[in-house]
Symmetry: C2
Subunit: 177 residues, 2 copies
Protein backbone atom coordinates (compact mmCIF):
# COMPACT_ATOMS: atom_id res chain seq x y z
CA UNK A 1 0.00 0.00 0.00
CA UNK A 2 2.52 2.68 1.10
CA UNK A 3 4.56 4.03 -1.81
CA UNK A 4 2.82 1.65 -4.23
CA UNK A 5 -0.91 2.41 -4.00
CA UNK A 6 -0.49 5.52 -1.86
CA UNK A 7 2.10 8.24 -2.40
CA UNK A 8 3.16 8.15 1.23
CA UNK A 9 6.56 9.77 0.61
CA UNK A 10 4.97 12.77 -1.14
CA UNK A 11 2.61 13.26 1.80
CA UNK A 12 5.46 12.98 4.31
CA UNK A 13 7.53 15.60 2.46
CA UNK A 14 4.51 17.90 2.21
CA UNK A 15 3.98 17.49 5.97
CA UNK A 16 7.64 18.33 6.66
CA UNK A 17 7.47 21.40 4.42
CA UNK A 18 4.28 22.67 6.00
CA UNK A 19 5.19 22.02 9.62
CA UNK A 20 8.96 22.02 9.92
CA UNK A 21 9.93 24.20 6.98
CA UNK A 22 11.72 21.38 5.15
CA UNK A 23 12.78 21.81 1.53
CA UNK A 24 13.37 18.15 0.59
CA UNK A 25 12.09 16.68 -2.65
CA UNK A 26 11.70 13.05 -3.70
CA UNK A 27 14.90 13.28 -5.71
CA UNK A 28 16.88 13.90 -2.54
CA UNK A 29 16.04 10.31 -1.53
CA UNK A 30 17.41 8.70 -4.69
CA UNK A 31 19.39 5.65 -3.62
CA UNK A 32 19.47 6.82 -0.05
CA UNK A 33 18.29 5.40 3.23
CA UNK A 34 15.89 7.51 5.30
CA UNK A 35 18.58 8.30 7.90
CA UNK A 36 20.98 9.62 5.26
CA UNK A 37 18.58 12.34 4.19
CA UNK A 38 16.54 13.36 7.23
CA UNK A 39 17.84 14.89 10.43
CA UNK A 40 17.30 12.97 13.65
CA UNK A 41 14.70 15.56 14.63
CA UNK A 42 12.80 15.17 11.35
CA UNK A 43 12.82 11.38 11.71
CA UNK A 44 11.45 11.54 15.24
CA UNK A 45 8.72 13.98 14.22
CA UNK A 46 7.69 11.78 11.29
CA UNK A 47 7.69 8.65 13.45
CA UNK A 48 5.41 10.38 15.96
CA UNK A 49 3.13 11.45 13.11
CA UNK A 50 2.92 7.91 11.69
CA UNK A 51 2.32 6.41 15.15
CA UNK A 52 -0.67 8.68 15.56
CA UNK A 53 -2.25 6.83 12.62
CA UNK A 54 -4.71 9.28 11.09
CA UNK A 55 -2.04 10.51 8.65
CA UNK A 56 -2.60 7.33 6.63
CA UNK A 57 -6.22 8.26 6.03
CA UNK A 58 -5.36 11.27 3.91
CA UNK A 59 -2.70 9.94 1.55
CA UNK A 60 -2.92 10.71 -2.18
CA UNK A 61 -3.57 7.75 -4.49
CA UNK A 62 -0.81 6.86 -6.95
CA UNK A 63 -1.77 7.86 -10.53
CA UNK A 64 -3.50 5.09 -12.46
CA UNK A 65 -3.69 2.76 -9.45
CA UNK A 66 -7.49 2.79 -9.19
CA UNK A 67 -8.06 2.20 -12.90
CA UNK A 68 -5.54 -0.63 -13.19
CA UNK A 69 -6.59 -2.38 -9.99
CA UNK A 70 -10.24 -2.18 -11.02
CA UNK A 71 -9.41 -4.17 -14.15
CA UNK A 72 -7.00 -6.53 -12.46
CA UNK A 73 -9.64 -7.25 -9.84
CA UNK A 74 -11.93 -8.59 -12.55
CA UNK A 75 -9.34 -11.12 -13.71
CA UNK A 76 -7.38 -12.01 -10.60
CA UNK A 77 -7.75 -12.43 -6.85
CA UNK A 78 -6.29 -9.10 -5.75
CA UNK A 79 -5.15 -8.89 -2.13
CA UNK A 80 -3.82 -5.72 -0.52
CA UNK A 81 -1.10 -6.38 2.04
CA UNK A 82 0.27 -3.56 4.12
CA UNK A 83 2.70 -3.33 7.00
CA UNK A 84 0.61 -1.99 9.86
CA UNK A 85 2.00 -3.59 13.01
CA UNK A 86 4.76 -1.03 13.54
CA UNK A 87 2.06 1.63 13.83
CA UNK A 88 -1.07 -0.29 14.90
CA UNK A 89 -3.12 2.92 15.13
CA UNK A 90 -2.79 3.07 11.34
CA UNK A 91 -5.09 0.05 10.88
CA UNK A 92 -8.36 1.98 11.09
CA UNK A 93 -7.28 4.87 8.83
CA UNK A 94 -5.73 2.43 6.34
CA UNK A 95 -8.93 0.39 6.22
CA UNK A 96 -11.03 3.54 5.68
CA UNK A 97 -8.62 4.77 2.97
CA UNK A 98 -8.88 1.48 1.08
CA UNK A 99 -12.68 1.43 1.31
CA UNK A 100 -12.91 5.07 0.15
CA UNK A 101 -10.59 4.87 -2.84
CA UNK A 102 -10.99 1.19 -3.76
CA UNK A 103 -14.64 0.35 -3.01
CA UNK A 104 -14.53 -2.39 -5.67
CA UNK A 105 -11.91 -4.42 -3.77
CA UNK A 106 -13.01 -7.20 -1.41
CA UNK A 107 -12.27 -6.09 2.16
CA UNK A 108 -11.90 -9.78 3.00
CA UNK A 109 -8.69 -9.59 0.97
CA UNK A 110 -7.08 -6.82 2.98
CA UNK A 111 -4.08 -8.07 4.97
CA UNK A 112 -2.58 -5.92 7.73
CA UNK A 113 0.67 -7.54 8.67
CA UNK A 114 4.34 -7.11 9.34
CA UNK A 115 6.60 -9.83 7.96
CA UNK A 116 5.34 -10.36 4.40
CA UNK A 117 6.91 -13.81 4.06
CA UNK A 118 3.55 -15.01 5.43
CA UNK A 119 1.84 -14.15 2.13
CA UNK A 120 0.79 -16.97 -0.16
CA UNK A 121 0.37 -15.41 -3.60
CA UNK A 122 1.74 -15.64 -7.12
CA UNK A 123 3.03 -12.06 -7.27
CA UNK A 124 3.96 -9.39 -4.77
CA UNK A 125 4.35 -5.77 -5.93
CA UNK A 126 6.35 -3.91 -3.29
CA UNK A 127 8.82 -1.05 -3.01
CA UNK A 128 10.98 -2.82 -0.43
CA UNK A 129 13.38 -5.55 -1.54
CA UNK A 130 13.39 -7.01 1.97
CA UNK A 131 9.72 -7.87 1.46
CA UNK A 132 10.34 -9.40 -1.97
CA UNK A 133 13.30 -11.44 -0.70
CA UNK A 134 11.24 -13.59 1.67
CA UNK A 135 8.28 -13.94 -0.69
CA UNK A 136 7.49 -17.38 -2.09
CA UNK A 137 6.03 -16.14 -5.39
CA UNK A 138 7.45 -13.72 -7.94
CA UNK A 139 8.49 -10.35 -6.56
CA UNK A 140 7.99 -7.16 -8.58
CA UNK A 141 9.85 -4.09 -7.36
CA UNK A 142 7.83 -0.87 -7.57
CA UNK A 143 10.26 1.99 -8.19
CA UNK A 144 10.67 4.44 -5.34
CA UNK A 145 13.52 6.87 -4.70
CA UNK A 146 15.09 4.64 -2.06
CA UNK A 147 15.30 1.62 -4.40
CA UNK A 148 16.49 3.16 -7.70
CA UNK A 149 19.92 1.54 -7.35
CA UNK A 150 18.63 -1.97 -6.55
CA UNK A 151 19.45 -4.51 -9.26
CA UNK A 152 18.25 -8.01 -10.06
CA UNK A 153 14.51 -7.53 -9.65
CA UNK A 154 11.67 -7.39 -12.12
CA UNK A 155 10.79 -3.71 -11.86
CA UNK A 156 7.82 -1.47 -12.62
CA UNK A 157 7.92 2.32 -12.39
CA UNK A 158 4.23 3.16 -12.32
CA UNK A 159 0.75 1.66 -12.58
CA UNK A 160 0.75 1.84 -16.37
CA UNK A 161 3.58 -0.66 -16.34
CA UNK A 162 1.72 -2.87 -13.87
CA UNK A 163 -1.24 -2.77 -16.26
CA UNK A 164 0.98 -3.78 -19.16
CA UNK A 165 2.50 -6.62 -17.16
CA UNK A 166 -0.74 -8.13 -15.88
CA UNK A 167 -3.40 -7.03 -18.35
CA UNK A 168 -1.39 -6.98 -21.58
CA UNK A 169 -1.74 -4.54 -24.43
CA UNK A 170 -3.82 -3.09 -25.92
CA UNK A 171 -6.08 -2.70 -22.93
CA UNK A 172 -8.33 -0.18 -21.25
CA UNK A 173 -5.33 0.69 -19.19
CA UNK A 174 -4.13 2.96 -22.00
CA UNK A 175 -6.84 5.32 -20.75
CA UNK A 176 -4.85 5.87 -17.63
CA UNK A 177 -2.22 7.97 -19.40
CA UNK B 1 -7.24 -16.03 17.58
CA UNK B 2 -10.98 -16.16 18.29
CA UNK B 3 -12.06 -19.48 19.80
CA UNK B 4 -8.49 -20.81 19.60
CA UNK B 5 -6.32 -18.40 21.60
CA UNK B 6 -9.24 -16.43 23.07
CA UNK B 7 -12.43 -17.94 24.45
CA UNK B 8 -14.60 -15.61 22.42
CA UNK B 9 -17.72 -17.79 22.65
CA UNK B 10 -17.57 -17.87 26.47
CA UNK B 11 -17.31 -14.07 26.55
CA UNK B 12 -20.22 -13.70 24.13
CA UNK B 13 -22.45 -15.99 26.22
CA UNK B 14 -21.46 -14.14 29.39
CA UNK B 15 -22.36 -10.83 27.67
CA UNK B 16 -25.73 -12.24 26.60
CA UNK B 17 -26.44 -13.51 30.12
CA UNK B 18 -25.49 -10.22 31.74
CA UNK B 19 -27.25 -7.89 29.32
CA UNK B 20 -30.08 -9.79 27.69
CA UNK B 21 -30.84 -12.40 30.30
CA UNK B 22 -29.82 -15.30 28.09
CA UNK B 23 -29.35 -18.78 29.53
CA UNK B 24 -27.36 -20.41 26.73
CA UNK B 25 -24.31 -22.54 27.43
CA UNK B 26 -21.57 -23.71 25.09
CA UNK B 27 -23.19 -27.13 24.85
CA UNK B 28 -26.24 -25.56 23.20
CA UNK B 29 -24.03 -24.79 20.20
CA UNK B 30 -22.83 -28.36 19.68
CA UNK B 31 -22.95 -29.06 15.96
CA UNK B 32 -25.10 -26.02 15.35
CA UNK B 33 -24.76 -22.92 13.28
CA UNK B 34 -25.04 -19.56 15.07
CA UNK B 35 -28.46 -18.88 13.56
CA UNK B 36 -29.89 -22.18 14.78
CA UNK B 37 -29.28 -21.28 18.43
CA UNK B 38 -29.61 -17.52 18.76
CA UNK B 39 -32.69 -15.44 18.13
CA UNK B 40 -32.51 -12.80 15.42
CA UNK B 41 -32.48 -10.16 18.14
CA UNK B 42 -29.57 -11.80 19.97
CA UNK B 43 -27.59 -12.08 16.74
CA UNK B 44 -28.11 -8.40 15.92
CA UNK B 45 -27.12 -7.33 19.44
CA UNK B 46 -23.95 -9.46 19.30
CA UNK B 47 -23.05 -8.15 15.83
CA UNK B 48 -23.39 -4.59 17.09
CA UNK B 49 -21.20 -5.45 20.08
CA UNK B 50 -18.49 -7.00 17.89
CA UNK B 51 -18.58 -4.07 15.44
CA UNK B 52 -17.86 -1.71 18.28
CA UNK B 53 -14.50 -3.47 18.67
CA UNK B 54 -13.50 -2.98 22.29
CA UNK B 55 -15.13 -6.29 23.26
CA UNK B 56 -12.12 -8.08 21.75
CA UNK B 57 -9.79 -6.37 24.22
CA UNK B 58 -11.27 -8.15 27.22
CA UNK B 59 -11.48 -11.77 26.08
CA UNK B 60 -10.27 -14.57 28.37
CA UNK B 61 -7.22 -16.50 27.21
CA UNK B 62 -7.71 -20.20 26.43
CA UNK B 63 -6.17 -22.42 29.15
CA UNK B 64 -2.57 -23.41 28.39
CA UNK B 65 -2.33 -21.19 25.33
CA UNK B 66 0.30 -18.84 26.75
CA UNK B 67 2.51 -21.63 28.08
CA UNK B 68 2.42 -23.70 24.89
CA UNK B 69 2.88 -20.75 22.54
CA UNK B 70 5.81 -19.51 24.61
CA UNK B 71 7.58 -22.81 23.99
CA UNK B 72 6.51 -23.14 20.37
CA UNK B 73 7.77 -19.63 19.73
CA UNK B 74 11.27 -20.74 20.72
CA UNK B 75 11.30 -23.50 18.13
CA UNK B 76 9.14 -22.21 15.29
CA UNK B 77 8.14 -19.03 13.49
CA UNK B 78 4.76 -18.47 15.14
CA UNK B 79 2.37 -16.15 13.32
CA UNK B 80 -1.02 -15.12 14.69
CA UNK B 81 -3.64 -14.68 11.98
CA UNK B 82 -7.05 -13.33 12.84
CA UNK B 83 -10.09 -12.34 10.84
CA UNK B 84 -10.48 -8.63 11.55
CA UNK B 85 -11.84 -7.11 8.35
CA UNK B 86 -15.49 -7.85 9.10
CA UNK B 87 -15.14 -5.71 12.24
CA UNK B 88 -12.23 -3.34 11.46
CA UNK B 89 -12.66 -1.53 14.79
CA UNK B 90 -11.47 -4.77 16.39
CA UNK B 91 -7.91 -4.29 15.06
CA UNK B 92 -6.73 -1.98 17.84
CA UNK B 93 -8.23 -4.01 20.71
CA UNK B 94 -6.99 -7.28 19.16
CA UNK B 95 -3.48 -5.86 18.83
CA UNK B 96 -3.52 -4.65 22.45
CA UNK B 97 -4.86 -8.03 23.65
CA UNK B 98 -2.06 -9.89 21.88
CA UNK B 99 0.62 -7.56 23.27
CA UNK B 100 -0.81 -7.84 26.78
CA UNK B 101 -1.18 -11.60 26.98
CA UNK B 102 1.56 -12.68 24.55
CA UNK B 103 4.37 -10.14 25.01
CA UNK B 104 6.89 -12.77 23.87
CA UNK B 105 5.39 -13.01 20.37
CA UNK B 106 6.81 -10.88 17.54
CA UNK B 107 4.23 -8.23 16.64
CA UNK B 108 5.68 -8.29 13.13
CA UNK B 109 4.08 -11.73 12.86
CA UNK B 110 0.54 -10.59 13.62
CA UNK B 111 -1.71 -10.86 10.56
CA UNK B 112 -5.10 -9.15 10.54
CA UNK B 113 -6.91 -10.46 7.52
CA UNK B 114 -10.09 -11.92 6.12
CA UNK B 115 -9.61 -14.72 3.59
CA UNK B 116 -6.97 -16.98 5.18
CA UNK B 117 -6.03 -18.64 1.89
CA UNK B 118 -3.48 -15.82 1.66
CA UNK B 119 -1.42 -17.41 4.46
CA UNK B 120 1.86 -19.09 3.56
CA UNK B 121 2.65 -21.41 6.45
CA UNK B 122 3.19 -25.08 7.21
CA UNK B 123 0.30 -25.41 9.67
CA UNK B 124 -2.88 -23.50 10.40
CA UNK B 125 -4.73 -24.13 13.67
CA UNK B 126 -8.28 -22.84 13.26
CA UNK B 127 -11.79 -23.59 14.48
CA UNK B 128 -13.39 -22.98 11.08
CA UNK B 129 -13.14 -25.63 8.38
CA UNK B 130 -13.73 -22.99 5.71
CA UNK B 131 -10.38 -21.47 6.69
CA UNK B 132 -8.60 -24.82 6.65
CA UNK B 133 -10.07 -25.76 3.29
CA UNK B 134 -8.33 -22.98 1.34
CA UNK B 135 -5.05 -23.28 3.24
CA UNK B 136 -1.98 -24.48 1.35
CA UNK B 137 -0.32 -26.19 4.35
CA UNK B 138 -1.69 -28.68 6.83
CA UNK B 139 -4.88 -27.66 8.56
CA UNK B 140 -5.52 -28.53 12.21
CA UNK B 141 -9.08 -28.15 13.46
CA UNK B 142 -9.36 -26.71 16.97
CA UNK B 143 -12.47 -28.17 18.57
CA UNK B 144 -15.29 -25.72 19.18
CA UNK B 145 -19.00 -26.46 19.75
CA UNK B 146 -19.90 -25.51 16.19
CA UNK B 147 -17.42 -27.98 14.65
CA UNK B 148 -17.83 -31.10 16.81
CA UNK B 149 -19.54 -33.00 13.99
CA UNK B 150 -16.95 -32.13 11.32
CA UNK B 151 -15.05 -35.17 10.08
CA UNK B 152 -11.86 -35.65 8.08
CA UNK B 153 -9.57 -33.16 9.78
CA UNK B 154 -6.63 -33.53 12.07
CA UNK B 155 -8.16 -32.29 15.30
CA UNK B 156 -6.99 -30.90 18.64
CA UNK B 157 -9.29 -30.21 21.57
CA UNK B 158 -7.12 -27.93 23.69
CA UNK B 159 -3.65 -26.41 23.98
CA UNK B 160 -2.24 -29.46 25.74
CA UNK B 161 -2.89 -31.42 22.57
CA UNK B 162 -1.29 -28.67 20.47
CA UNK B 163 1.75 -28.93 22.75
CA UNK B 164 1.86 -32.69 22.27
CA UNK B 165 1.58 -32.33 18.50
CA UNK B 166 4.25 -29.69 18.03
CA UNK B 167 6.53 -30.05 21.04
CA UNK B 168 6.34 -33.79 21.66
CA UNK B 169 6.28 -35.62 24.95
CA UNK B 170 7.54 -35.45 27.63
CA UNK B 171 7.74 -31.68 27.60
CA UNK B 172 7.32 -28.66 29.81
CA UNK B 173 3.82 -28.53 28.50
CA UNK B 174 2.82 -31.10 31.08
CA UNK B 175 3.01 -28.22 33.52
CA UNK B 176 -0.01 -26.72 31.87
CA UNK B 177 -2.36 -29.33 33.28
Amino acid sequence: MDDVMADTLAAQLEWLRRNLGGTLTKEDFNGKRWAEVLSEFEQKALDALLAEGSFFGGLPVMPGCQEVLREMNQRFEVFVATAAMEFPASCGPKYDWLRKHFPFLDKGRFVFCGDKSILNADYLIDDLTRNLRGFRGEGVLFTAPHNVDERGWKRVSNWDEIGEMFLGQPSHVALVR
